[in-house]
């Protein structure tokens, strides 16, 4: 009932915005060096120092987030830790703490609802807000952005800052938030759109990745001016409906709304870098089974079953491959997922190379329940699983494990493994 009322209010607000306002006012809020800022907030002795947030084992990991100080010294996101250390020997590597980031993300998104009910969580550290009704005009929008920055400081701490972009649509708002970092507020009005676009690279715009950038370059398009001048029909011939989007984007036009609906995930997956590169199939099986159990538990907790499993392998030389299998009988049983994933891995694995990382993910998800088996053994397995889920709900993810997984240990503070939080 409460949810229905809220949906009605939001629909009413959206209609009001459409009828009463000439253009929308959208904020894009991008937390600056998010994970690193949270760590600097928690530990003040890290402030002013170059730090990099890594996975569970810093020596076999990448820099997930570099602090502002580290970025100034050349450390980039997704750089391997050894490369980052080579560039910046004073870099302090900190193992990431997903629980902490998850809670702070919840905290600032809750705060955004003080300003408008139209909030879209775009990623763990980015959100869109439609503040057309609350701001009324650009002056009001800048005032609200300042207020929001103050509230952020009160709720999350002074080290956790955000860059805010203000524009008539999500595309320009996101582009604007990139302009001044850290802690900037950048306004791009409709009449400033062309100037803003002409001051950036094609790939700076959300929706044009490096591959698309190269394809555009191949067509002789190297900037937004050239994209505007390129015939729309030829763009459509080349890229189908995406060609229309490109043409509109070149003028800073975009119509997508701030979506408040939480979408179901398209896939559920885990990957894990092994403690050492290995040729040992038993060790691989153990880690793969552990991940399949984790994936299956998350699916059952959220009421999903899957009709497809993908597995991925990365070798010591950083090459890798993956394969997907689609099947008819939906499942959320970790052992079943493992059987399929291991079968796939055996088909694709290059036995001459040591394995560095394994990954598994399920897709083709639906909310239907897994079909009841005709066989008594499988029925028993399902009822055991249901009992184990109750134990895990009560006592957490470490409450039980399969005996075959006892010889291995998933490191704590890995990307989500071993935790009961939602991230």
């Amino acid at each position: 009932m409460g949810h229905d009322n809220n949906s009605k209010n939001v629909t009413r607000l959206k209609t009001k915005i459409k009828t009463r306002f000439v253009h929308k006012i959208i904020l894009h809020i991008d937390m600056n060096s998010y994970f690193a800022s949270v760590e600097q907030q928690a530990n003040p002795f890290l402030c002013g120092k170059p730090i990099g947030i890594t996975g569970k084992r810093s020596e076999r990991s990448i820099v997930a987030t570099a602090s502002i100080e580290a970025k100034k010294l050349g450390v980039k996101t997704a750089m391997s830790t050894w490369q980052a250390k080579k560039i910046c020997p004073s870099l302090i590597l900190i193992t990431g703490d997903p629980e902490k980031y998850s809670e702070i993300t919840h905290r600032f998104n809750k705060l955004f609802f003080e300003f408008t009910p139209l909030v879209q969580e775009f990623s763990v550290d980015e959100s869109f807000l439609d503040i057309t009704e609350q701001a009324k005009d650009w002056f009001g929008a800048v005032y609200l952005a300042h207020s929001l920055r103050e509230r952020l400081k009160e709720e999350c701490g002074e080290r956790i800052t955000a860059s805010i972009g203000i524009a008539p649509n999500k595309l320009l708002a996101k582009l604007s938030s990139e302009c001044v970092k850290p802690n900037g507020i950048t306004l791009t009005r409709k009449e400033d759109a062309i100037t803003r676009l002409d001051s950036v690279q094609l790939t700076d715009l959300c929706g044009i990745g490096p591959r698309m950038g190269r394809r555009l370059n191949d067509l002789g398009i190297r900037n937004f001016k050239q994209l505007r001048e390129f015939p729309r029909e030829e763009l459509v011939d080349e890229f189908s409906s995406y060609g229309y989007w490109l043409h509109e984007a070149a003028y800073g036009r975009e119509t997508s709304e701030v979506s408040i609906e939480e979408e179901d995930p398209k896939s559920v997956g885990h990957s894990y870098t092994l403690p050492k590169d290995t040729f040992d199939p038993v060790l691989m099986q153990r880690y793969l089974l552990g991940m399949c159990e984790k994936v299956a538990w998350r699916m059952r907790r959220d009421g999903f079953v899957a009709n497809a499993v993908s597995t991925y392998v990365r070798y010591g030389d950083f090459s890798g491959n993956g394969k997907q299998h689609v099947f008819k009988e939906a499942t959320a049983d970790g052992l079943r997922l493992f059987e399929i994933a291991w079968g796939l891995l055996e088909k694709i694995r290059d036995r001459s190379k040591p394995v560095r990382l394994l990954g598994v993910s399920t897709s083709h998800l639906s909310h239907t329940s897994a079909p009841n088996s005709l066989f008594q053994k499988e029925q028993k397995n399902l009822s055991v699983l249901s009992a184990l889920d109750k134990i895990q709900t009560r006592y957490g993810s470490k409450a039980w494990t399969r005996a075959s997984l006892l010889p291995i240990a998933f490191q704590n503070r890995a990307s989500g493994l071993g935790y009961d939080h939602e991230l």
């Binding site: 928690a42 709900t393 957490g396």
Partner: protein, 81 residues
């Protein structure tokens, strides 16, 4: 130097305005006066709620874990500048 540990510690704390604030900690036969509470976050272990306090004195950062079921405090991280 950054250390991950799980040492049981004694903590003197205030419970006021629905907030917990650790004031002093005794660890390895030494008393530490907590100067700042920098960040507080929670986590779930099943249905159990755990509070984490990221605190500091003049020379060290400590991360304290409070189990709300057993009311036990543990020191789980130390960073000395």
């Amino acid at each position: 130097m950054h250390n991950i540990l799980h040492d049981s510690v004694d903590v003197l704390a205030t419970f006021a305005d629905r907030r917990v604030r650790p004031l002093h900690m005794r660890w390895n036969d030494r008393n530490y006066s907590i100067k700042n509470v920098n960040l507080v976050h929670t986590a779930r272990e099943g249905q159990k709620k755990i509070f984490y306090f990221s605190v500091s004195d003049i020379a060290n950062y400590f991360k304290l874990r409070l189990d709300t079921e057993t009311l036990e405090w543990h020191l789980v991280e130390v960073y000395s500048s």
